[in-house]
């Protein structure tokens, strides 16, 4: 249990780490069902560059810092990626702006980017979950 508490403590300041750790521990992801390959994220944080490797196969993802051959490379600032990991910035728009640079297997990155969370909403409209099956 101690390790979980520690992780949580770290997550509060590091949305990027939180996102990747979450990804590593979640079950098979249907959105990645047809995507496979390794992505390398180069996240520039001041003078240093943080590397994350995500290898995905049939919906299951492994996350690591260990160097591996990448099919796609995503380069951006750590600060921007923190925003993307919390839904405050959009990958596609960032790519068009050139603040995020892609290389390699674009289909893989496109499948992967769907896992980033929704933007935070100031006033959440009640989701009509209770209406499920109202067409009955």
């Amino acid at each position: 249990m101690a390790s979980v508490a520690m992780k949580k403590g770290r997550r509060a300041q590091d949305p990027t780490a939180e996102f990747f750790e979450d990804l590593a521990t979640r079950g098979p992801e249907p959105l990645l069902q047809s995507a496979s390959g390794t992505m390398r994220f180069d996240l520039k944080d001041g003078a240093r560059v943080e590397h994350w490797y995500v290898t995905t196969d049939k919906g299951q993802s492994r996350v690591s810092h260990k160097e591996a051959k990448a099919d796609a490379i995503i380069r951006t600032d750590k600060a921007l990626f923190d925003k993307i990991a919390t839904g405050k910035a959009n990958v596609t728009a960032a790519t068009l702006r050139g603040t995020l640079v892609l290389e390699g297997d674009i289909a893989l990155v496109m499948a992967f980017q769907r896992l980033f969370p929704s933007p935070p909403r100031p006033r959440r409209r009640a989701r009509p979950d209770d209406r499920k099956g109202s067409a009955r």
């Binding site: 249907p30 959105l31 069902q33 047809s34 839904g87 959009n90 596609t92 728009a93 790519t95 068009l96 702006r97 050139g98 603040t99 640079v101 892609l102 290389e103 674009i106 289909a107 496109m110 499948a111 769907r114 896992l115 980033f116 969370p117 929704s118 933007p119 909403r121 989701r127 009509p128 979950d129 209406r131 499920k132 099956g133 109202s134 067409a135 009955r136």
Partner: protein
């Protein structure tokens, strides 16, 4: 100046120039070289000894290539022209222009040939709305090339101009000092390259696609499609026009190189549109089924996963429009992509099922099971904004989102009889039809391919219930038709519109009501003789040249005719097909987006609605769907049922080598309605 605009394109790169080949764009003028929604040239002017040139003729060689025949001087008399000039231009990752000058005189001539070049790097949206640029410009000469640049923060775009012959290059353009011998000629090739900076990864560039391949590609495309034999020559011409235009409208995405889907329109809508790509794929399924497969994959890859108010995105929602320009990049527009439509998601499932029925491609249906389920889920979970069991729409992006999220997307398209406009949300009737159809078709796929009996039963139950409620709640008692919408209070928006035809197509109409609906569609109020009007004569907002309030849309009519056939109204379907196909003759086989709703006997020819975009994909697809409807083509199991019902004006109609799960098959139709059926 030369009036007519000439356009050529390849994918989403295109050039619009005047008939002399020059570009001299004002900020709001839609001419220039465009790529990925950015203008890379807004100035491209050829002069010889300081003089502009005059167009003798223009040859559209192919959709990606054109040739301009020019002479110096801008007068109207060319008698003394001793020089002629040919500019042959082909689009690729920018364009290449072969410039040839011929001297017809007995004496040599010394010429100063000049190309002035410039770019405002306008976003397509800026060209429409005349907005100011926020970044900075640069012009620089690098050895043998001129570079025009634009930069806003990390957003960088460049235009690189080179020439095969030696030129004196300055920051404003290129100058050639040329001597042309008697009866001799001089030539150079100019290359203009659009450089997308960090976005180059999204292009196919580096493939070095050569022109001959493009030409061969087009020939192959036309040959692969079924062959049409008919006694009506204009119909043959229309069919060929449709196939060639469809080829031009093909669009490749970086994630699926070698496969293309139909973009919405040329040149301004050469991008993925959920609605347009799906409708066009449906129309062209019996002819070019690969378009549907690519559309389904491409839209599936981009299906919504988040709840994002700016983009009107929900999980499972199929996108509306994707763009790549500066305003999208800086989130001044929501097209990265934008999801604000209320129909494409249900239509996605409809297309998947129709595709399976034609091709038997179970693999794709299995691959897209998750996407199809997410789409079906969207209908119940996210589209029922009022909690009344109907699909409705209201944009969440109130600044730059779309107000009307149905195909009739103009501001006044949905109105009460008296012309008043309802508030939001709006539940337009055709959306309920699409939802019904998607549930029925989803159920079929669930049984056949996903092997989920319980899901199939649930969907059918929901569809049955929706149909029952719909036939009650939308039925306008005193008019005996379906209301175009329910308003925010659940009241009927009671005008008579073409939307009721889509309801037949979806199958949501009770059998007992179908005859009345068909009668309305063919009545003088809706049927002009050329086609069915978007809004009936006599309604408050009716205007024969109003965009969605009286004009006739070929695409709309093609689906209505399909709907009429679905309910057994063969003769009516044939009459609609005949009217629109007759109209096509007046446009050289290229149907416009819409034309006027004037009665046929009044104008004798269809009055074109002024629009900048031609060909439009779903107008291009309309003749294809009419052919299917007239021949009564319907896949049943592994067979193709042919049940022709031709209009009086078509004596013979044969479609040979129709591709599908049966391999290739021929369909024959002969003579008048009723006499040729089986």
């Amino acid at each position: 100046m030369s009036g007519d605009l000439v356009q050529i394109l390849e994918g989403n790169t295109f050039v619009v120039s005047d008939s002399a080949g020059d570009v001299e764009a004002s900020p709001t003028d839609p001419t220039g070289l465009f790529s990925f929604d950015t203008r890379f040239l807004s100035e491209w002017i050829l002069t010889i000894n300081g003089e502009r040139l005059n167009a003798l003729s223009t040859d559209d060689l192919q959709y990606y290539e054109t040739r301009f025949f020019l002479v110096p001087g801008t007068g109207t008399v060319y008698v003394d022209a001793k020089l002629s000039v040919i500019r042959q231009r082909a689009v690729g990752d920018g364009f290449r222009e072969q410039l040839t000058i011929m001297n017809h005189d007995d004496k040599p001539v010394d010429l100063e040939v000049r190309i002035d070049a410039g770019s405002d790097f306008a976003d397509l949206f800026e060209v429409k709305d005349a907005l100011k640029k926020k970044g900075s410009y640069e012009r620089r000469v690098e050895r043998d090339r001129l570079v025009l640049g634009y930069k806003r923060e990390t957003f960088e775009r460049e235009t690189v101009i080179t020439s095969t012959s030696h030129a004196k290059i300055d920051e404003q353009g290129l100058t050639f000092k040329v001597r042309v011998e008697p009866h001799g000629q001089w030539a150079t090739e100019l290359a203009v390259t659009a450089v997308l900076g960090s976005l180059n990864v999204l292009t196919q560039r580096g493939d070095k696609r050569a022109r001959p391949n493009m030409a061969r590609g087009l020939t192959k495309w036309v040959h692969k499609a079924p062959t049409l034999e008919t006694d009506v020559d204009s119909l043959k011409a229309t069919y060929r026009r449709s196939l060639v235009d469809l080829a031009a409208l093909r669009f490749e995405t970086r994630t699926m190189p070698g496969h293309s889907l139909p973009a919405a329109g040329l040149p301004w809508f050469m991008t993925i549109f959920g609605r347009d790509s799906i409708f066009t794929s449906l129309q062209s399924l019996p002819f070019t089924p690969e378009l549907a497969a690519t559309t389904l994959r491409a839209l599936g890859e981009r299906q919504g996963t988040r709840i994002d108010d700016f983009r009107d995105e929900d999980p499972g929602r199929i996108l509306h429009e994707a763009r790549f320009g500066e305003m999208t990049a800086f989130e001044e527009r929501p097209h990265s992509p934008y999801y604000g439509n209320a129909d494409a998601t249900a239509m996605y499932v409809v297309l998947l099922d129709e595709y399976e029925r034609w091709t038997g491609d179970h693999r794709l249906v299995r691959d897209l099971e998750y996407q199809a389920r997410a789409a079906l889920n969207w209908i119940d979970e996210f589209a029922d904004l009022q909690g009344n069991g109907y699909v409705s729409y209201k944009r969440r992006n109130e600044k730059t989102g779309l107000e009307n999220q149905c195909w009739k997307d103009s501001w006044d398209s949905i109105s009460y009889r008296d012309g008043a406009l309802p508030g939001f949300p709006r539940a337009t009737c055709e959306l309920q039809g699409y939802a019904y159809d998607s549930k029925m078709r989803g159920a079929r796929l669930a049984r056949l391919v996903w092997h989920d009996q319980a899901f199939a039963e649930r969907l059918e139950k929901e569809a049955g219930d929706l149909k029952r409620r719909f036939n009650h709640d939308f039925w306008v008692e005193d008019g005996e038709y379906f209301a175009v919408a329910l308003d925010a209070d659940g009241r009927q928006v009671d005008s008579l519109t073409s939307n009721i035809g889509h309801l037949l197509w979806s199958g949501i109409v009770d059998k007992s009501k179908a005859k009345t609906i068909a009668r309305h569609l063919m009545s003088d109020r809706l049927f002009s003789g050329w086609g069915i009007r978007t809004l009936a004569v006599g309604e408050g907002r009716y205007n024969p040249i109003g965009y969605h309030v009286g004009s006739v849309w070929p695409f709309d009519n093609s689906f209505i005719a399909w709907g009429l056939r679905r309910y057994g109204f063969k003769e009516e379907a044939a009459r609609v097909a005949e009217g629109i196909l007759d109209a096509a003759q007046f446009f050289d086989g290229r149907l416009p987006e819409a034309f006027g709703g004037y009665p046929r006997e009044m104008t004798k020819y269809p009055v074109q609605y002024p629009t900048a975009c031609s060909p439009q994909a779903w107008s291009t697809g309309a003749p294809l769907l009419f052919l299917r409807t007239m021949l009564g083509l319907e896949p049943v199991g592994d067979y193709l049922v042919v049940d022709p019902a031709l209009p009086a004006s078509i004596g013979q109609l044969e479609l040979l080598d129709i591709p599908g799960r049966w391999g290739r098959i021929d369909a024959f139709g002969r003579s008048r309605v009723g006499t040729s059926g089986r």
